[in-house]
């Protein structure tokens, strides 16, 4: 391994922490410098992520770029880093969304420096989770990514008053963090229990996965079927909540309505993926038989997510609620794809994680830009914006078309693969999935027609379109959407070895 290969994964974790530390030490007034340091650091992270994407060997098996730094030997905890195909894609996703988000965040006027500090702690947590192959650090970074949310939403968020209910920002922040932390306790319990049951004295995921496959008597599965059946639901619910699993999804719409733009972008774009990633990494890899026992439940819940989220989105009148519920709906496809346990289905789920991440970040970026200009997100009040804000309209429509599965954009390929997997295993649920995509078309197009088209009220006459900087940030999100839609090969090739890893575990 070259020097760069040896250290790139660490860099992904250290650099955001370092950035946060540097920003902390910066005097308060130096706002411009804080912005440039942040954007520069995000760019460096994006380049490092791209490096991981390109250096990853698509034909090799197992974890790559592995690096082990002993940390606490009595318990067998190491700072152990490595990536498989799925993690590589998530690293790239994080790089893209964090870069775009850091640029958008430059619009924040209040306490800019502290905002960026918390943002980079969050980014460090996300990267750490994706590249850790030690359960202890996996969990540590998972929690690290969640905690800054509370302050980010509580301080920089926005409170909303609706016709018959209020959503103060503190409410959204509290709900989001409490629900996710409560669920993560289940995951923590599952991790400790697996550590004890395996009795290997290590938290290493490769070692535990090897044990799960062949650590038992006569080379059989290491964890007994009963054990897996009991522990898997902890993992499924614990991580599933962060992926928006119905009926534990309600933190998502409320949280997003309160959150500032960049936080929504990172949260829906990347953090929700941690949940699905956790189910695959911990659930499928370490508890394959438990996965098989619970697959149908996950499948049904995922389908409920798709339909329930889409129908709920149709009735919303706040742009952020629409996008929030649409995330609930789209994450359903990820859960469905995972539950197929089929090579095409899991590939689709992985690609959908990436596609949804970029798409929803674009959605929130656009909605944020509209809110900054009009000071409302009410669909019933906004109208005819296209004639004043061509670029904003274009970006929203691109995100919308991605979400309704238009060919040529990333969502289509991902959802199609999920459908193929679903029809191979549970055709009836597959049909419901396709119907969900049609409902998406209804609410997206209704919204576009109402908000962007039609006659414009005079109060929107003075609106300004995107600045070049905002346009650049959003354009950076459109590139991967188009790339995956037109030329998905390189992305699918990266996923393939990761899927093989999971399938090997499932087949025992």
């Amino acid at each position: 391994m070259s020097f760069a290969e040896r250290h790139v994964l660490e860099t992904l974790v250290y650099l955001p922490m370092l950035t946060a530390a540097v920003l902390v030490m910066l005097p308060f007034g130096w706002r411009a410098l804080a912005r440039w340091i942040s954007i520069g650091s995000a760019l460096a992270l994006l380049l490092a992520s791209l490096y991981v994407f390109f250096v990853f060997d698509r034909s090799a098996e197992g974890f790559q770029l592995v690096r082990v730094l002993p940390w606490f030997e009595p318990l067998g905890i190491d700072f152990r880093l490595g990536v498989d195909g799925l993690a590589v894609l998530m690293v790239l996703l994080t790089g893209i969304v964090a870069f775009s988000g850091a640029i958008i965040a430059a619009n924040v006027e209040r306490e800019t420096k502290s905002y960026y500090v918390l943002l980079f702690i969050l980014i460090a947590g996300v990267y750490g989770t994706f590249v850790s192959i030690d359960l202890f650090f996996f969990f540590f970074f998972y929690e690290l990514a969640i905690v800054p949310m509370y302050l980010l939403i509580g301080v920089w968020g926005s409170s909303s008053t609706f016709k018959d209910f209020d959503r103060p920002k503190e409410y959204g922040a509290m709900k989001l963090v409490l629900m996710i932390v409560a669920a993560s306790l289940l995951v923590w319990v599952a991790i400790i229990v697996m550590y004890n049951e395996a009795g290997l004295g290590t938290f290493s995921i490769p070692a535990l996965s090897e044990f799960a496959r062949s650590g038992g008597e006569g080379g059989g599965p290491g964890f007994s079927p009963q054990f897996q059946r009991v522990v898997f639901p902890l993992v499924m619910v614990g991580f599933g909540l962060l992926a928006g699993l119905w009926p534990l999804h309600t933190w998502s719409p409320d949280g997003h309505v309160a959150a500032p733009t960049t936080v929504s972008m990172l949260h829906a774009g990347v953090l929700m993926k941690l949940g699905a990633f956790g189910i695959i990494r911990v659930g499928m890899l370490l508890l394959p038989e438990g996965m098989q026992d619970w697959a149908l439940v996950l499948f049904v819940l995922g389908t409920v997510n798709v339909i329930y989220g889409a129908i709920s989105a149709m009735a919303q009148t706040d742009l952020k609620y629409v996008v929030g519920y649409s995330s609930v709906s789209h994450m359903g496809y990820v859960l469905m794809g995972i539950a197929t346990m089929d090579p095409v289905g899991i590939t689709g789920a992985s690609l959908q994680m990436f596609s949804h991440g970029v798409m929803t970040a674009l959605f929130f970026a656009v909605v944020g830009a509209i809110y900054e200009r009009t000071h409302t997100r009410d669909i019933l009040v906004l109208n005819g914006l296209a004639s004043r804000m061509g670029w904003i309209t274009a970006f929203f429509v691109i995100a919308g078309l991605t979400s309704l599965g238009l060919p040529g954009l990333s969502g289509f390929i991902a959802e199609l693969l999920v459908f193929v997997g679903a029809f191979r295993t549970q055709p009836v649920l597959g049909v419901l999935g396709v119907i969900g995509a049609a409902i998406t078309a209804v609410y997206i197009l209704r919204l576009v027609a109402r908000v962007f088209f039609g006659e414009r009220s005079t109060e929107w006459d003075g609106l300004k379109d995107l600045t070049a900087r905002e346009g650049f940030a959003m354009g950076a999100l459109v590139v991967p959407i188009l790339l995956v839609g037109v030329y998905p090969g390189p992305f699918l090739d990266v996923i393939a070895p990761g899927v093989d890893l999971v399938l090997a575990a499932l087949e025992g």
Binding site: K175, M314, L406, L416, L417, F419, G430, F452, P488
Partner: protein, 625 residues
């Protein structure tokens, strides 16, 4: 022939350049789009001659796209007679319409401020349509299918400040999407069954008979749902008349000649599937004939020129489906071709009138226009006569083929209905012709002038084709043995054009009779028309209200869909969120509050609790021992 993949490429490039850089180009780069259309049309010819030279047949040029799991997808192309006919029609009409738009999209001498975007989407449309007809696999076909739908959406909503246009665009997209749910499910079912997207392999597998019959049948029906949406078949036809909110050249290209026939093309492309599933074929015929009548009768009472043409399109798409249902791919695709040219011309003529009359589309405000717009009037008349089935104009030949096919392949009831439909089609055409171009010129229209050359030029070319294209039915030499030997399905096989005297005479008589009756009624006996209208006021009202279908759909959306969705959203907020989730929080909080009172701070309380605790533990240990 391999270069056929270049044909869509020009449009893709033109779209990409215009979408990103139109602001920096002279005239917003509209000539670039024109150039792409021209290049596509020019490239079509070598493909055609190569095909005729090498021998008519199916040429497959596979190419890899991506692999996901155990599924490989290609983006290769098929070049066969069906594709070639579509390539010719699409590239030609696209070019004609783009030339026409040069003038039409100018208002008071200045280009529409968004003209670059208009041409960009035109290019993307042509490219997507060409991808759709060239695709060798169902995924690529679906890509083209959805992208033409997107372009249709963008162009219907081109003047998006107009609420009606925004509404119509949305309606078109959503209605066709409804059909596409079926299409996508059908495709995925076939893919899961046969393990590939490749059309050739799937069709071979279907013909083989080894596949799961239920799956094949289900996918045949489901895929036809998609075709119904796109090709505006009853009851999914409602979007097409509204789509007339788009600029008229768009109506000519997308909503008459090309995109709306995609459904017909799809069934033709997957014809072996429908030959294998007889029930689906019968369903196609039934939907087709119903659509013919719905379209024709709604056209009869409509007063908006463009909407009349739209209903006429609906009706003719029904004819094509009927032909497919009767098992004649030749008749369907031949009619697709002749109708495409004639209807594009009719729309361009209508656009010419609108251009001259400041956007007027109400035929009650017209009349006598032939005196001011001779070329437009001639073109419109030619198109109307052709579509009524008057020899030797284009659609006469294809209609004859349809008659022969229906007489030979379907229950006689279909034949009777078809004959009645032919008369009805001629009737509404005669009405339109009479009310728009003949009679007295009203005073307000005195200043109407014929449109400029870029508009009447395409009309003249399309007119010449409408007169001449019927000869394609006959053997022309040079390896071309007539449409029936060029374009045929595997089961029917090649067959020469047969001039069945009986059906020709009957069909032509009915057409002439329909035209004559229509002319007589609307020219000499308007009183009789009024009398019929009063007499059948109930029927008239139902027709004017478009069979109440738009109202019914709207009611379903407002009263059912939106209510359910609002109910669910309320359930989510009140029950799931504020009830279950916040409730859990409240329970914890309340428990804490209650327990708080037991923390008294009095030493003796703690002491007694401790003693009690020790007692319980001791008791448990004693019991265990």
């Amino acid at each position: 022939m391999e270069q056929a993949w270049l044909i869509p490429l020009y449009g893709v490039i033109a779209f990409a350049v215009l979408a990103l850089f139109r602001g920096f180009l002279p005239w917003q780069g509209k000539h670039l789009s024109l150039l792409a259309a021209l290049a596509a049309f020019v490239t079509f010819w070598p493909v055609l001659f190569d095909m005729v030279g090498r021998g008519v047949g199916l040429y497959h040029f596979p190419r890899d796209w991506f692999t996901a799991g155990d599924l490989s997808v290609g983006w290769g192309i098929i070049v066969d007679p069906l594709t070639v006919v579509m390539l010719g029609l699409v590239t030609f009409v696209a070019l004609a319409v783009q030339v026409y738009s040069l003038s039409y999209m100018r208002h008071h001498g200045a280009d529409d401020p968004r003209i670059g975007w208009y041409y960009a989407v035109h290019s993307l449309f042509a490219a997507s349509m060409l991808v759709l007809v060239l695709a060798d696999n169902l995924l690529l076909l679906y890509v083209g299918w959805e992208l033409v739908g997107l372009c249709s959406y963008l162009l219907i909503g081109f003047w998006h400040e107009r609420p009606a246009a925004a509404e119509a665009a949305k309606k078109a997209f959503i209605t066709t999407r409804l059909g596409d749910v079926g299409l996508l499910i059908g495709i995925v079912l076939l893919v899961v069954e046969f393990g590939t997207f490749d059309i050739g392999t799937i069709m071979a597998g279907v013909a083989d008979g080894g596949a799961n019959g239920a799956v094949v049948t289900a996918s045949a029906f489901l895929i036809f749902l998609g075709a119904m949406g796109k090709s505006a078949q009853f009851p999914l036809h409602v979007w097409l008349p509204d789509a007339m909110e788009g600029p008229t050249p768009v109506s000519a290209l997308i909503h008459a000649a090309t995109m709306v026939v995609a459904g017909v093309f799809l069934v033709a492309r997957l014809f072996p599937l429908y030959e294998a599933v007889g029930s689906a074929q019968l369903a196609i015929a039934a939907v087709g004939i119903v659509t013919v009548f719905v379209g024709a009768s709604l056209a009869l009472v409509e007063t908006d020129l463009k909407r009349i043409l739209a209903y006429s399109t609906v009706s003719h798409l029904g004819f094509m489906m009927l032909a497919l249902g009767a098992g004649s791919l030749t008749a369907a695709i031949f009619h697709l071709l002749t109708h495409g040219i004639a209807k594009a011309m009719l729309f361009l003529a209508a656009g010419s009138i609108m251009h001259a009359m400041d956007g007027q589309t109400d035929i009650r405000r017209m009349g006598g226009l032939r005196k001011r717009m001779p070329v437009t009037a001639a073109a419109f008349t030619l198109g109307a006569l052709a579509l009524s089935g008057i020899p030797p104009l284009s659609a006469f030949w294809s209609k004859d083929e349809i008659l022969v096919a229906v007489a030979g392949g379907l229950h006689p009831a279909f034949l009777v209905a078809l004959l009645a439909a032919i008369a009805l089609s001629a009737l509404y055409m005669a009405r339109t012709l009479r009310l728009v171009f003949f009679g007295e010129l009203s005073r307000e229209n005195e200043r109407v002038r014929e449109s400029p050359l870029p508009m009447v030029g395409p009309l003249a070319v399309l007119g010449a084709l409408t007169v001449g294209i019927g000869v394609l039915a006959l053997p022309l030499g040079g390896g071309y043995e007539g449409i029936g030997s060029f374009l045929y399905d595997a089961v029917g096989g090649p067959h020469p054009f047969e001039l069945n005297v009986l059906w020709t005479v009957v069909g032509t008589t009915l057409a002439v009779g329909g035209l004559g009756t229509g002319w007589w009624l609307y020219d000499s006996r308007p009183d009789l028309v009024a009398a019929v209208r009063t007499r059948l006021s109930g029927v008239h009202r139902v027709l004017v209200e478009r069979l109440y279908m738009d109202a019914a759909y709207q009611w379903t959306i407002d009263q059912v869909v939106l209510r359910v969705s609002r109910g669910l959203a309320l359930f989510d907020r009140r029950i799931v969120n504020e009830g279950a989730v916040d409730g859990t929080g409240r329970v914890v909080m309340e428990t804490g509050k209650r327990l708080r009172y037991h923390v008294t701070g009095v030493f003796s309380d703690y002491g007694s609790a401790m003693v009690a605790g020790v007692g319980v533990v001791a008791l448990l240990l004693w019991l265990r021992a």
